[in-house]
């Protein structure tokens, strides 16, 4: 007698990863029958890239839809469990200091919108590449990117309940001067052809420099009590490994397909290394100035994640194809000693018009900087901060009483100095069809002169303000147009976030009756 029908569908042995991936990417592809292939994929020729065999694309991850969904769901589950716990336990009170959140404000204002841009454009690549392997990889990345945007918004929205500067980031991204740096970078990439975009974002940004952006950042949030950000960082970065692979696979694929692709790809590496590197300037100052508890200096991070891993590792590999390290990389290396100081000094004096606050580093902080930058901090930057200290004691606070000159390409204020000379501002001037344009460096000038018709259209915030396109001719009108509210901008000490933080920490101390009254400024 049988109590139940015999289980006939004995679990079939699953196909191997290789076979499943083949079935997905090759088995589901088809040849067009009533249009020509170049009508179906019309954007693949005009950049000059030659592809002979799309089937040669190999995705090392061999990801299939079932595996993708399973693991992405698991990643989200883990993240949202952390977010819930953090919100329920008033986890924000356990941060090192409210000033830490300035780094997160810049992140949601300047990086989250890039995720959305990447989502859109990888969807475009998923439509336009003529090979099923890269199309599927691009599709996964497109879905990843919108997940990153969403998880970042969900994570940081917890802080929006209690802190300034988080409430208007999408509009700020389109309008505010320092956010035009990441925005113009990404829109420059979006307006390229599909192959250049892949090298720009997939390779130069994701593979070469993403480690500099995310890895120290996640350690920084972990070290400053920001568990949710650390968790979304991990969650996103686990996808990022796949994106890095796509970027690396892309470059090798293009180089192997045709020798004529090599100089084109080299030009893109040269351009996009520098474009991406300039965006990381914002990260440099976060690491050295905005984290109350320091993880590693920008210099250390640059040496480890860029010089050692990329120049010492990757470019040796690419030399096989005749690819050389990016043009102007020597200038970037020279800047590692000074970059974060110059950028923060700039943000400090223009933060009256920003959606974050800044403050002069404490003596203890300056000692850390001296140690991390023994060759430059005490010579060049400590004297500026000491002067500012006296200025503050005399009732001042250094805010630039006007607007900065901007670089036509990277759109960063012209704050950078001549390579090897930290006291002479770099000024590069180019003329194109009767108009002059200024760039901040050899790298940006080279990029401008390569495609002046493109960069002359730059929407430079300062120029636009002076044209009257940003709410009006006065600073308060511009700030209103930016959507800034009381407490968003300016000096941290005495700001709304700072006052609230002290009050909350004071309450906590009173509740537990411990004499340690406040953590602020720790």
């Amino acid at each position: 007698m049988t109590l139940a029908p015999e289980n006939k569908t004995k679990k079939a042995k699953k196909l191997s990863m290789k076979a499943r991936y083949e079935a997905l990417t090759r088995g589901l592809d088809w040849e067009p029958s009533y249009v020509e292939k170049d009508e179906m994929f019309p954007h693949l020729d005009y950049e000059g890239i030659k592809i002979h065999d799309w089937a040669a694309w190999e995705d090392p991850f061999r990801l299939t839809i079932d595996a993708y969904c399973k693991y992405q769901a698991e990643k989200d589950k883990r993240l949202y469990a952390v977010l819930d716990g953090f919100a329920q336990g008033q986890g924000h009170l356990g941060l090192t200091d409210a000033s830490y959140l300035n780094a997160m404000k810049i992140f949601i204002q300047g990086v989250t919108p890039l995720e959305y841009g990447a989502h859109r454009h990888f969807a475009y690549l998923a439509r336009h590449f003529a090979g099923p392997g890269p199309r599927f990889a691009a599709l996964c990345q497109s879905i990843d990117e919108i997940r990153h945007m969403q998880t970042e918004i969900h994570t940081l929205s917890n802080y929006n309940k209690y802190y300034s500067g988080f409430h208007n980031w999408p509009e700020e991204y389109d309008r505010v001067w320092y956010l035009s740096v990441p925005k113009s970078f990404f829109e420059d990439a979006l307006s390229c052809g599909p192959f250049e975009f892949l090298i720009a974002v997939g390779f130069s940004f994701e593979y070469l420099l993403t480690n500099l952006l995310f890895v120290p950042f996640m350690s920084g949030s972990s070290f400053n009590g920001d568990l949710p950000t650390m968790t979304f960082g991990f969650s996103a970065q686990s996808d990022e490994s796949r994106h890095m692979t796509l970027g690396l696979e892309a470059i090798k694929f293009l180089l192997e397909q045709d020798e004529a692709n090599v100089p084109i790809v080299q030009g893109w590496i040269d351009k996009w290394f520098w474009r991406s590197y300039r965006v990381t300037a914002l990260v440099a100052q976060m690491l050295d100035y905005m984290l109350p508890r320091k993880v590693m200096s920008w210099k250390e991070s640059f040496e480890l994640y860029f010089e050692e891993q990329m120049l010492g590792g990757l470019f040796e590999d690419l030399a096989f194809y005749g690819i050389t390290p990016p043009r102007h990389v020597e200038d970037a290396i020279k800047e590692k000693e000074i970059l974060s100081h110059q950028v923060y000094w700039t943000l400090y004096q223009f933060s009256f018009a920003a959606a974050f606050t800044t403050s002069a580093p404490s003596d203890e902080h300056m000692d850390w900087l001296s140690q991390a930058y023994p060759d430059t901090f005490d010579t060049h930057y400590r004297p500026l901060w000491e002067k500012e200290k006296k200025n503050i004691e005399a009732g001042g606070r250094h805010f630039a009483p006007g607007l900065p000159q901007l670089c036509q390409v990277c759109q960063v204020p012209m704050l950078f100095t001549e390579p090897g000379d930290a006291t002479t501002f770099a000024q590069r001037e180019s003329e194109f069809e009767g108009e002059i344009y200024h760039t901040c460096s050899n790298g940006c000038q080279w990029i401008f002169e390569r495609e002046p018709e493109k960069y002359r259209q730059a929407w430079l915030p300062v120029h636009q303000i002076y044209q009257g396109n940003c709410g009006g001719p006065t600073v308060p009108e511009v700030l209103e147009w930016y959507g800034l509210q009381d407490g968003d901008a300016g000096e941290y000490i005495g700001s709304r976030d700072h006052r609230n933080w002290q009050a909350w920490q004071g309450e906590a101390a009173a509740d537990t009756a411990t004499p340690d009254e406040t953590k602020a400024g720790a």
Binding site: F61, L63, E74, K75, V215, S219, K252, G312, D317
Partner: protein, 104 residues
């Protein structure tokens, strides 16, 4: 801020390092142990929340060792839950192993 244990100095060998960065968590501890066991020449660096494992030339992650350390079944796809970043090239990602190495 970081502590590093080096089994070997790779610089002296003229072989370029490859590396993998893993989130430091209870879930990932057995994975990290497995990598250390399978790659005897590796160096391990800890920073807040992260473990960075580097080795001259090649890093292999084998299903068998991870399963042994975990005490349960583990498919190599699951490594996506642990990996934060890497440098090198993913040469193999099969059912039984993942290999990170430079191509040239």
């Amino acid at each position: 801020m970081q502590e590093q244990t080096t089994a070997d100095d790779p610089q002296t060998k003229g072989v370029r390092d490859v590396g993998v960065v893993i989130q430091e968590s209870e879930n990932n501890r057995p994975v990290i142990e497995a990598i250390e066991a399978d790659n005897p020449g590796c160096s391990v660096m800890h920073s807040p929340g992260l473990v960075r494992i580097t080795a001259p030339g090649r890093i292999v992650i084998t299903q068998e060792t991870v399963e042994e350390k975990l005490g349960r079944e583990w498919e190599t796809h699951e490594f996506q839950m642990a990996i934060v970043s890497y440098f090198g090239n993913i040469q193999e990602w099969d059912d039984d192993e993942i290999v990170i190495a430079w191509d040239h």
